[in-house]
Amino acid sequence: MSLSSLAQQIHLWLLGHMSEQWTLVLEMIIAGILVISFFAVLGLVLVYMERKVSAWMQIRLGPNRVGPKGLLQSFADTLKLLIKEGLTPDGADKFLFNIAPIGAIMVSMLLMAPIPFAKDFQMWDINIGVLYVSAVSSLSVISILVAGWSSNNKYSLLGAMRSGAQIVSYELSAGMAIMTIVILSGSLSLTEIIQSQQNGWWLFKGHVPVIIAFVIYIIAVTAETNRAPFDMAEAESELTAGFHTEYSGMKFALFFLAEYVNVFIVCAIGAILFLGGWMPLHIGEWTAFNHIMDYIPSSIWFMGKTFGLIFLIMWFRWTFPRLRVDQLLKLEWNYLLPISMINVVLVTALAILGWYFK
């Protein structure tokens, strides 16, 4: 039974028991609870994954004491964070200081809405999904700036300022990269973009320009989510912990969670745009192969691609040194942005002339 039919059955069952309005309200509540629990699980899984991946690259074992293969380590850590005292520094702007982590997590939650996790399974099939995602993801900089400003700590302030410059700049490149796919598929809706990849993923269909766009997208979102080698905002050896230096306990955990969920979301968007989202891998005329691929559930396809990209981003983090802040901005304004601008023009020509594989 697929996820979409399950959702359909719940919908019908609810309709049979109550009015349409109540069904809507109840479904919203269910969706909300699902998002929050998905968030928690995602945070645990990604933190565990990061620790295992880093251990693997650093010839260590990683967490292996709590639970089988250390699987419960993340739970233990979360529990610790929950019972820790959430300090508010004396000189901090108390209201802003406390609201910043909530802002960060809220942005991540909002971004979860239009993502199709499986075939016909998404919370909100909005027809301007891509626009929505890029618009909402820009909001994440606000909470970081607020956190840095309200902490009354110079390290935090520096981290926040760096992060502000960084996120605003790299959004341009990420937006341009996303635009190439919008041009090719002719739609802003995430569902339609996935449908347009029925006969092959855009990464394969779109020739070199789309590959360039994909590379730029990965670089830009790594910077946008403040991950190494672009972790200017945190830059442990320079700014101790950057914008969240003063945060502790659950407030810190919210920032931490938001960071990981943002990584998941940008990877999910990358998988949707370039790798066909939940579409199975089909190779031309290989009918038998294509049939076998169809048997794998669409949710597995989606998660597999997303986690593949997440692994890639983690790989960056554990192998590259960090850029300097001026080099970071130079990379964006001198290289990535001009390249992606030319790339958009190329893709437009490609789309008009129909030179991509159909």
């Binding site: 880093s54 690259m57 650093q58 010839i59 260590r60 110079k154 390290y155 520096l158 760096r162 190494a228 080698p229 972790d231 830059a235 442990e236 050896s237 320079e238 700014l239 101790t240 554990w318 192998t319 590259f320 040194p321 960090r322 850029l323 300097r324 802040v325 001026d326 080099q327």
Partner: protein
């Protein structure tokens, strides 16, 4: 001038880097003045780990005070001990058996490799790359194991005594060192792949933290820091002690003067140290490992000085003797202190990230600076 909290009189942002900070590798306290991200002033504040080792030495006998010096530059503890032992021997006028000399040089060079290993990992971590740290520690661990077997300790070995070394080499020593050399040669290229060749790394290091030859000399820099600016200052070449004059090795000199040059000097020095160890490991002469000395050592009245090349630079030991069993006054000229004084010249006008990179290439050990 009256300074308001957090801001200097010129309106710069004043930040305390340290004494607890991930980049200072110990309790170094830097007060840095910033215009935006640009550094206008760096002021090192010292003394957080001052244990008055020099004063302590005055009340210890010539046999005892050597062990305290392991705690100065703990990463080249062997070489510190060696400097003190050599200085005492100079005063006593004893002849050291050849076997002891070879063992001392072997241990010094192994220590140098271990120290540079740790520096390499820590410096990469300063630049935000975590993985090299673990790779560096993998190799350093095998040196520590060799040390543990022969000297009984891994970090503060206390192996050098006036007249030679404390005990003979462990029977396994030669085999283990050879195993290590083999392992190490297969790994050292990995370092270049992982860090040296990385474009981000190159951009972070090239042209950053520039120290001219003149400045290096006037600040009294020594060791790899000075050699990266083109100053030939290797004590092993200029004032050879032990058997260094008979050995075939190069003094590594780079002329870049920037962080990358300092990095390359240390990387190449590791390879030179390997060469020295290779020359000696099969040629350890037979004989006693310690010269015969009296149970209670008394230095004649006078002043004695001995300098050696530690992993960080020139360490000088200056003993003033009144003819008793304890020194009248001891002064250590530690390399870290002079090297640190060049930091402001290096990083003025560059970004915070450059400060961290330049500090990483100075290879500071704070207990060596404070003593």
């Amino acid at each position: 001038m009256q300074e308001t909290i957090g801001h200097s009189a010129t309106g710069d942002l004043v930040i305390n880097v340290g004494p607890q900070h991930p980049a200072t590798h110990g309790v170094l306290h830097l007060v840095i003045h910033l215009q935006g991200e640009t550094i206008t002033k760096v002021e090192p504040h010292l003394g957080y780990i001052h244990r008055s080792i020099e004063k302590m030495c005055e009340s210890l006998t010539y046999r005892q005070f050597i062990y305290v010096t392991s705690r100065m530059d703990y990463l080249s503890a062997h070489i510190n001990n060696l400097a003190c032992a050599l200085c005492v021997e100079k005063g006593l006028g004893v002849e050291i058996p050849e076997r002891a000399q070879v063992i001392r040089v072997l241990m010094s060079e192994l220590t140098r490799i271990a120290s540079h290993e740790l520096w390499w990992g820590a410096m990469a971590m300063d630049l935000g790359a975590f993985t090299p740290f673990f790779h560096a520690f993998r190799e350093r661990e095998s040196i520590n194991d060799i040390m543990e077997e022969t000297c009984g300790a891994r970090l503060t070995m206390n192996y050098m005594v006036p007249g030679g070394v404390m005990m003979d080499l462990h029977p396994n020593f030669q085999k283990r060192v050879k195993d290590f050399l083999q392992l190490y040669k297969s790994k050292i290229d990995e370092y270049d792949e992982m860090v040296t060749g990385n474009i981000i790394f190159q951009n972070r290091m090239k042209g950053v933290g520039y120290l001219s030859k003149e400045d290096a000399i006037s600040f009294g820099c020594s060791g790899p820091t000075a050699r990266a600016s083109g100053v030939s200052c290797d004590v092993r070449k200029w004032y050879p002690y032990e058997i260094y004059s008979k050995l075939d090795f190069e003094e590594v000199i780079e002329t870049g003067g920037d962080s990358l040059a300092r990095y390359m000097v240390r990387i190449r020095e590791m390879k030179e140290s390997i060469r020295i160890v290779e020359q000696l490991i099969d040629a350890i002469p037979e004989g006693p490992f310690q010269a015969k000395t009296k149970a209670v050592l008394k230095l004649p009245k006078g002043e004695f000085y001995q300098q050696v090349e530690t992993a960080r630079g020139e360490l000088g030991v200056y003993i003033v003797s009144e003819g008793g069993t304890t020194p009248y006054r001891i002064k250590f000229r530690s390399p870290g202190f002079s090297n640190l004084s060049a930091l402001e010249t290096m990083v003025k006008g560059s970004k915070i990230g450059d400060l961290v990179a330049a500090m990483g290439t100075l290879d500071l050990v704070i207990p060596d600076i404070d003593r």
